[in-house]
Symmetry: C2
Subunit: 490 residues, 2 copies
Amino acid sequence: MAYTDTPLAEIEKLIESAAQCFHLYKNSSLLQRQALLNEIAAELRKKADDLVATAMRETNLPEVRLRNELGRTLFQLESYGQACAEGRWLDATIETRANAAGAPVNLRKTLLPLGPVVVFGASNFPFAYSTAGGDTASALAAGCPVIVKAHPAHPETSTLFADAIQRAIELQGLPAGLFGHVYGISFSIGEYLVKHPAIRAVGFTGSLRGGKQLFDWAQQRQHPIPVFAEMGSVNPVFLLPEQLEAQGTALADQLAASFTLGAGQFCTKPGLLIAIESEPLTVFEKRLTDQVQKMIPVRLLHQGIADAFISHREEALRSSFVSTLALSDQEAAKMEGQPTVATVSAANWLQDRSLHQEIFGPYTLLIKCRDQQEMLTVAAALEGQLTTTIMGNDKELSTYRPLIDLVKEKCGRLILNGVPTGVEVCKAMQHGGPFPATTDARFGAVGEDALKRFARPICYQNWPNEWLPAELQDDNPLGLLRTVNGKLTL
Amino acid sequence: MAYTDTPLAEIEKLIESAAQCFHLYKNSSLLQRQALLNEIAAELRKKADDLVATAMRETNLPEVRLRNELGRTLFQLESYGQACAEGRWLDATIETRANAAGAPVNLRKTLLPLGPVVVFGASNFPFAYSTAGGDTASALAAGCPVIVKAHPAHPETSTLFADAIQRAIELQGLPAGLFGHVYGISFSIGEYLVKHPAIRAVGFTGSLRGGKQLFDWAQQRQHPIPVFAEMGSVNPVFLLPEQLEAQGTALADQLAASFTLGAGQFCTKPGLLIAIESEPLTVFEKRLTDQVQKMIPVRLLHQGIADAFISHREEALRSSFVSTLALSDQEAAKMEGQPTVATVSAANWLQDRSLHQEIFGPYTLLIKCRDQQEMLTVAAALEGQLTTTIMGNDKELSTYRPLIDLVKEKCGRLILNGVPTGVEVCKAMQHGGPFPATTDARFGAVGEDALKRFARPICYQNWPNEWLPAELQDDNPLGLLRTVNGKLTL
């Protein structure tokens, strides 16, 4: 089957339908939303084999990875549904104490969903960050209808997910307009969706160029809307000298595995390794080289990513500043990415901004610094990141305190002695970071707090109990933890 | 003394100094920040008479209003300081349970301040939303240095506040660069501040034109930053028929007082009254007219506001759609605003978008609808608002459920049988709303949740206790309520 751009007239109908649905769905109970997410998960479970087989064909990802990703996707749906029902994310707050002038007060604050949300599926997470992925799950949990633009690299997978979502909506007796699914290869489909006045927020996972374009369109609207674009990140890893000396072999093994995990197609791939020139660094390089040489090139997600990997990697390796440190012995066949480590001196890296960019695929760049001061200069030149990692022992952390303190300002997750790949789905996770890692560092895309992206506070003043949403009613029918007259209470 | 534009070289130094300070101040303890806000309040208390006298001269506001506003300003500083120290706003979250694969997890999330914040003082709140107002208090509490651009209408008042803040910083042994104060009449000063790469967020209270310009500059930066601009709002009041019949006199009295409170220079002034044509409406109009006729014109805040009020009011009254309903018998002298009520049919209001705009000053517009359906059409045509008010009895609320349900989507605070003026400072308040009421409906400018505007989540992975901020340490030294392994706990 060929998937061509959905005609604009059809998209218009889907958006109108979503906008109509919103008037109803915004008042849905938290339990109703949880039931919907659980129903979607149940539908997906039934289709697991079909989903995995289809995605294997469309994305080149291996079965074990896709089975894991499906598990994660189901967990997201179910755990966000549970968080939604538990209602803590609403931060329900009630004030009924008289004010300083003795006047009666009756103010009650909760969150109201924003309205129809457009979600752009990600190519590198055909399940967990696509059609029924984290953005869709959190928008539906927050009370928003969703229009998904299928990623052109896996339209058939996307269609299976969309069908499952539609079936779940039907089983739950909810209106079909709650979820729309469109195909689009042309830029103009994305533009139409983001600029449509009925659309109230955007979720995106992908390239800096793509995300920034959506952001610009959204901010140039007559009524600007929030865009949660999770974009590029090089996820720098600082290798402090004593740790490098004591653990060089283990670090080389960990990092070789991490930068090539999923063919280097994770947004948290360590794309920059930063160390100080020394004998232990030479040992580390040797081990890293040995590991990379043994690796087998893997097929990349799709032609666009394969082409971009090849051209960006070649461009970097052509730079007179950059030397190739390690390549897999086996050359890459068509569509494959050849595992590659390059090196550059800190002085040269600082001079050439093109070397600061993410290269999506199995590539990482080792920056060699003369000394601690130069390492700090490198840190200062970094842009916003999803993650930053420090590899160091207890003693040297103190020596490098200014470095650690500086990189905090530049990342959403600060890791000690671990690799950045592997993103736990839980409330304590922050998957986000300062621009250009994302367009809105104040929110995250993984874990139940992701719901908060799609809602805004509203205060009810003087309304009788029966007119209030359940979470604000006097008798607390949902049994939520709420702030009542300044105190957290049940 | 003449207040001229601060030279750019001097502004540059202040910003550099703020950026330097941030590296230290971001690590300040919550108690240190509370102590600073309390110290600022103490300095202001000492100067109360001078502050009030100076502001009376500069703003034409009466003493009693300014004394109240000073009280509110001190309350903001002290209550935001207390909220900061209590730490609930950080939503500290710790996860240490093994993951599904059995691997150890150690993730801890808190908020990190954004960096130097620029605050634009408001002309209509020379104390509570200017130099040491809500934006400054919440940014300092959140851990951000602040640069205030004094409002050109009250530079001397602003200077007194700035001196008090500087003195408090000195008394607390904090670096002077934590707070900068600049003067600027030219547009270019604002542009310089908002576009400066070291500035990380903007707070503003003022006109739609001004706020939108700051927003656009901020979004066009290489690294876009959040702008919290609280802008125009007409704060519609829907007068339902039975309530109008039963309470017409009281409603007329309340609304006459509300739209002229502070010479109509509040952002929550009811600028649109919406009712269905009927005999009780005629009675209401008569009473409103009587009340307005008796009013005394009051001096407006400054020449710019007086000029704008006169020209916008004249423009509205010149429209062939609009009739003048009531004017104060006493005409306005120079710089004064003459209390004015105009009327328009719903059909005509719907046709002429210029009548949807806020007119800042003692002016309100009564929209007369033919029936309930037309009232709903008016509601549907409204833009985003800080507040929307329903005046209705218990019985008719049900009849008007679709109206109530619709206006929820358009406002930050929904009021039943009360006037929108009067904004309680507490956590349950939401002072914000969909664009164009503000540029970011997901946050509010009043109450302790205002702190959240100036911070973003950061996750620490695998860090030993002594490297964690106090709110994330194992033994919970601050005694905060935190989410630990999914449960809220002390």
